[in-house]
Symmetry: C2
Subunit: 448 residues, 2 copies
C-alpha cells in the first residue's frame, strides 16, 4: 500500500481499505516479527564444497552412503590371527598386504592397520605393544579374546542412517563424517544477501574525517558484521549521502541484487520521515510502521518486488536492538534456521532504575558461572549511545510496564553469541521454508 494513501495514526488498528496486506502502526514486537517471517521464504538450495560448509544450514537429508566400517576391520594397528590360543606360540608373519578373500592358516599372522581390512577368518587382532617380531615370526605377550580389537561392518554407522537433517547447522563433526563417506559437496540453503543503507542526514563513511555537522557512520560496520556473524552476506553497503536525487535509482538497483535491505536512519515519525518517503517513492508495499519497543525509534518494514525492507533507527542503541529483534530473525530464517532465539533465564548483577513504558531491551553482558548465567546491565543505555556496545553479548528483555530492575533478580535474556546447537532444542523434523502469507509457523518458529 503506497504511503501517500495512508494517514499516520498512533494506534494499533490495521488499514486495509483495498483488501491489501494490513499496514499496522505501533504494533507489538511479536506481531512485527510474525509479519516479517511470513513475508519471506527460506532461500533456494545449493551445493557447496564440503570443507567450505561450516556454519551453513543443511537443506536436504544426508545419509550414510554405506556401512561404516564397510567391512570387518582392525581397531588397532597390530597383527591378525585366527588361532584361539596365542600365548607361547610363534606365528609365521605373512608378508603380503591383506586383500579381500585372504584366509589365515593355523600359526599364521599378518600385519593389519587401524581401519584396514582383516583376513576373513580373523579371530582377533593383537596390538603392537603386545607383540614381538623376530626373523619373520611374531610372538605375543598375552592371551586374547574372540573379536578383540575388531570392528564389525556397520558397527559405527549403518548404510542409510540419517547423519544430517534439514535445518542442522554444519559443524566440524558433520564435515568429518561426510568426508568419511566421500561426499565432496553438501546441500545447503543459500546465504542471504543483505543490503545496508545509511539514510541519516549528515552521515558520512566512517573512514572519512567528519566536518562539524557530520557524523561517522558507525551503523553500517555494525550491521555488516552482525549480518556476517549471523550467516548472511553484506552484499551492498551504501550511504545516502548529500546527493539524494539519485537515491531512488540507487536503492532499486541495490534491491535488484539482494534478498533483504536494512535501512538505518531517517525513521522518526512525521512528515520529515525520510525512510517512509523513500519507500513510497520506490513503490514499496508497507507492512508496518512503529513497533512498541524501547529503544526503537520507529522501525518499519515494507516489501518491494518480494524483497523485504526493514527500517531501523539511526540511533546506535536502537539500531543494534532493532537488528537483533527484527532483522536477525529474517537473516536466520532465509538460510533455513529457526528465526527466533529461545530466551534463557539469568541473574542480573546490577540495577536499572527506569521503569514502565513499552517492552524494553537492555544491552548487557552475560557470563556463565558453573551452571548459572549472570548478566550485567552495561553502562550507556541511552538510545544514542555506543558505549553499551562494548562487551555486549546479550539483551535483557523487560516486559512492558516493568518495575525498576533490582540486582539479584531473575531476568529473561537473549544471548547473542551462543551457537545455535546449544540454544535450540534438537529438531527431529524439517520446519523451515513455507509460502509467504500462508506459512504456519511451527513450534520453534514462534516469536518469543
Amino acid at each position: 500500500m503506497p504511503l501517500s494513501q495512508l494517514h499516520f495514526r498512533q494506534n494499533d488498528v490495521g488499514v486495509n481499505d483495498e483488501g491489501m496486506r494490513d499496514l499496522r502502526f505501533d504494533i507489538e514486537l511479536v506481531e512485527a516479527q510474525q509479519q516479517l517471517i511470513q513475508a519471506v521464504n527460506t532461500l533456494e538450495r545449493e551445493w557447496v564444497p564440503l570443507e567450505e560448509a561450516r556454519g551453513r544450514v543443511v537443506a536436504e537429508e544426508v545419509t550414510a552412503r554405506h556401512d561404516l566400517p564397510p567391512s570387518r576391520q582392525a581397531a588397532v594397528d597390530g597383527f591378525a590371527v585366527s588361532d584361539e590360543k596365542v600365548l607361547g606360540v610363534k606365528f609365521r608373519l605373512l608378508e603380503a598386504n591383506v586383500s579381500p578373500g585372504l584366509m589365515l592358516g593355523a600359526g599364521e599372522a599378518c600385519t593389519v592397520v587401524t581401519g584396514g581390512l582383516v583376513p576373513e577368518n580373523t579371530r582377533t587382532v593383537i596390538p603392537h605393544e603386545n607383540a614381538e617380531v623376530v626373523d619373520g615370526y611374531v610372538a605375543f605377550s598375552r592371551e586374547v579374546k574372540l573379536g578383540e580389537n575388531l570392528k564389525s561392518a556397520g558397527e559405527d554407522l549403518r548404510g542409510g542412517t540419517v547423519i544430517a537433517t534439514p535445518g542442522a547447522q554444519v559443524d566440524s563433526g558433520l564435515i568429518s563424517v561426510m568426508a568419511a563417506f566421500g561426499y565432496h559437496q553438501i546441500p545447503v540453503y543459500r546465504r542471504p544477501r543483505v543490503g545496508i543503507l545509511s539514510l541519516g542526514q549528515g552521515i558520512i563513511p566512517w573512514q572519512n574525517e567528519p566536518l562539524p555537522h557530520q557524523v561517522r557512520d558507525s551503523n553500517s560496520p555494525l550491521l555488516k558484521s552482525l549480518v556476517e556473524s549471523d550467516g548472511g552476506m553484506a552484499a551492498a553497503v551504501e550511504i545516502a549521502g548529500e546527493e539524494r536525487s539519485s537515491l531512488n535509482r540507487r536503492v532499486t538497483e541495490m534491491l535488484g541484487k539482494i534478498d533483504l535491505l536494512i535501512i538505518t536512519g531517517g525513521t522518526h515519525a512525521g512528515e520529515y520521515d525520510e525512510a517512509r518517503q523513500l519507500l513510497d517513492n520506490i513503490g514499496a508495499e508497507m507492512l508496518f510502521w512503529g513497533v512498541k519497543i524501547r529503544p526503537g525509534g520507529h522501525p518499519g518494514a515494507a516489501l518491494w518486488d518480494s524483497r523485504l525492507i526493514i527500517c531501523l533507527s539511526g540511533n546506535p542503541g536502537a539500531c543494534m536492538v532493532g537488528y537483533h529483534v527484527l532483522a536477525a530473525p529474517v537473516v536466520r530464517y532465509l538460510q533455513g534456521l529457526p528465526p527466533f532465539i529461545p530466551h534463557i533465564k539469568a541473574e542480573v548483577t546490577n540495577s536499572f532504575n527506569k521503569a514502565g513504558g513499552p517492552r524494553r531491551f537492555l544491552r548487557a553482558h552475560a557470563e556463565i558461572h558453573g551452571n548459572t548465567w549472570k548478566v550485567e546491565v552495561l553502562p550507556g543505555q541511552k538510545s544514542s549511545m555506543l558505549r553499551s556496545y562494548i562487551n555486549c553479548n546479550a539483551l535483557i528483555d523487560l516486559p512492558a510496564g516493568h518495575p525498576p530492575l533490582e540486582a539479584g533478580s531473575e531476568v529473561s535474556v537473549i544471548l547473542l553469541n551462543l551457537a545455535h546447537s546449544a540454544i535450540y532444542p534438537r529438531r527431529k523434523e524439517q520446519t523451515t521454508g513455507g509460502d509467504p502469507g500462508n506459512v504456519r509457523l511451527p513450534g520453534d518458529h514462534q516469536p518469543v
Copy 2:
C-alpha cells in the same frame, strides 16, 4: 632429547640425564596442558583492517580518540531553539546548516539532525513529530525542558577511555565503536598457522575412492575445520601416503611455514610407533609421550626449532578429544586467548555404563533450557567411532576412576561452541604472552 637416547617406560618419572627439558611418559592431562602452553609464545602483533577483524584478539589497548559526541549534539532530528517558552510561539526557521559559532536569536529555530552540531546557545531540541513547519516558520505542539534531546560532549565516551583491552575478542560492537572514532585498522595477534599431517597406514585423501585396505582420511577435514573455528589457519594439510621416503623432508618443509603441527595417526606405543620415529628422524625434542586420558591412544608432543608438534591418535574419537584438550588450548593461546575453557555444570540426561580407568571425555550434546544446561551422552563412544561426532557440541569430563554415569547426575562439561565472551569471566588486565620455560600462568590460564 632424541628418541634414540630414551627407553620407553610406563611411568610418570621425567628423564633429564642431560639437563634438558624433562620428557615424561603417561602423564596427567593437566601436566601435559601446562607443558604445551609453556612451550609456546603468543604470536606477534599485526594491524588488520577493522572490518576484517571479527573474532580476532586485541593485542594493544584501544582508547577513544576524542570525546563522543565530540561536541554538544542533537539527540533527535528536529529543531533547535534557545527560548525558554516554545508553546504558542511561531519560530522563524533559519535556512543555513549549523556551523561552529552559530548562535540562535530569540524566536529563531534551526533544523538539526541526530548526532549533528547544534547552535552554541541551544536550550533544547524539539523532534519533528512535535513540530509543524509553515512558510519558513515552525510551531511546536508541546512545552520542553532545558537540555531535552541534547547530548553533551563526551556523554557517551570521554576521550582516552579504554574501549578494548588486550585479550578481548573483536565483535561487531567493538568494530562499530572503533568505526565511530575512525580507526581504519586494529592491532591484533597474528592467527596461528597450523599444519595437519595424517600419518596412519592406508589413509587416503577423503575425496578418493578407497581400496579394501584403505581408509578415507576423515581426521584432516575435522582438524582443519576445528582449527579454523578456533581462529587458526589450516596452512598445510598433508597425508603421509604410501611414499614415505620423502616424509622427513616434507615434514620439515611443512614445519618451516607453520606455528603448530598436528599429527594424527601412528601414535600407538611400541617399536612400530611411526609418529615417534618421525619426530626422532627430524631431530625434534620430545616433551612428553602418553597422557592419561580416554579416549586418547598415546598422544605426544615435541618441539622442532621452536615449533610445537602435537601427535594425536588416528582413531576418530581420540583424535577429536585430543584436539580439544591438547591442541585447541595451544591454538587459542597462540592468538592471545586464555588457553583453557572453564567447565560448566550440567545435568546428564542419559546413562553411561563404563567406569574406572583414567580421566575420560565423552562426546556429548549440550543444550540450555531456561537456566539449566542438559547434556546427553551421544551414541558411539568407542574410540574408533565417528557416529558420536553427529550433534557433538560438548565434552563430558569424568574424573579418573569415575563410577558409571547415571541419568540425572551433575557432570562437568566443556562446551565446544560457546562464544568466548560468555564463558570467560571478563578480564581486567592483560594475561597473554610470556617467555617459554619461564611463563607464570595467570589465573585464567590454569588447566582445568
